[in-house]
Symmetry: none
Subunit: 214 residues, 2 copies
Amino acid sequence: MTDPIRILIVDDHAVVRKGLAMVLRLEPDLDVVGEAENGRVGLEAALSLHPDIALVDLVMPEMDGQTMALALRKSDPKMKIMMLTGTEVDDRVFDLLSVGIEGYVFKNIEPAELVRAIHAVVNGEAYLHPAVMKKVLGKIQPQSAPFVLLTPREMEILDWMATPNTYKQIAVQLGVSEETVRSHAKNILEKMKQPNRAQAVLSAMKMKLLKLNG
Amino acid sequence: MTDPIRILIVDDHAVVRKGLAMVLRLEPDLDVVGEAENGRVGLEAALSLHPDIALVDLVMPEMDGQTMALALRKSDPKMKIMMLTGTEVDDRVFDLLSVGIEGYVFKNIEPAELVRAIHAVVNGEAYLHPAVMKKVLGKIQPQSAPFVLLTPREMEILDWMATPNTYKQIAVQLGVSEETVRSHAKNILEKMKQPNRAQAVLSAMKMKLLKLNG
DNA sequence: CCGCGCCTCCCCCGCGCGGGGGATTGAGAA
DNA sequence: TTCTCAATCCCCCGCGCGGGGGAGGCGCGG
């Protein structure tokens, strides 16, 4: 067997901390190495204790979980972070997830489930509560609002407009005159109601007409 | 108690179908109402049987799971779909998820976990295998934005560069001179090695320095 | 047949912008 | 203290680009 998983618990409610610690200590391969009552203290504890994973409450005095997670990400990008919250799931989860946390669970989670979640996260996977996952899925699905008023040729030009090429260079690539490209570009800008090339490309990407190849 | 959950199993391997059916029938609140050996047959079965959820294998002859899921989505958007696959997780999962399935599990899943997944999905939640979830998360937080060579002020200017505002207008907004903004912009372009404002913004978005607010 | 949309090409104008210089201040590191 | 660097401001130049105009050919549907 490998070393036990070192866990730091950060929550402003002592009863929650104690409860979590008790549950987790029942597992032989889990080791609660520290507790903290807010983000500021939790951050210090995390940086000195170097746990494998930090269970962090979202709402706390002094420094909230998101702020702490952000700071922790910068200081120690490898440390896993699992966020603990109530049961509300609003759009702020995306801000949270964009911080780069690996786990997101609710406080009413089943102990066995939490243990599994911790293992998953420490193993480099990610664990989100299904309700949160649903929201995330909904975000990547919304997909293709097919607002295509552009002709095929204009779509092609639009693709090229997302490149560093000047209209003259695009014209060479397409084997037409620069004036033709500029003419298409003008029509595109007008149709999309965008003031310039940069905004047109940005707008196109937002409405999924273009995909960022990267 | 409510009625049992009606399940349709679609897999080209009889042994998998039988195995799944056997495991699921052990649960009193689960009811396997049908089996099918490929997407085409599965689609017909789904539309006639109206199960609560369809467990669908990804790779099948005649019609694969993704095609079936897509067709099923159009015919009966409320029916839940859980995709079953091997253990490979490549970028095609995003095509799959964009179809709008609610579940994505591997065939080597623990029976108890599968049961929980089915319940979660039928309850309107979503269930993804942690490895898949990790990939999805990586998509919305492609994470580790280490490439921050920009100063805070430059980041601020970069944000504004993603707007239709001219440098002069940005300067007014920030309460500084146009020359200052242009100076920052020049430094940004040089640091990012981008030829112009449009490419800088695009590039910034690709490396997630900027997020498309939409 | 005739109109209409699409693609092609052309001209002019003015300004936003990229790229090249440089200067000053203040904060923080060496 | 000295030196670096972020942040501020200034000048000049040339070109890419947005916006305005117009025109001809071609295919397609009424």
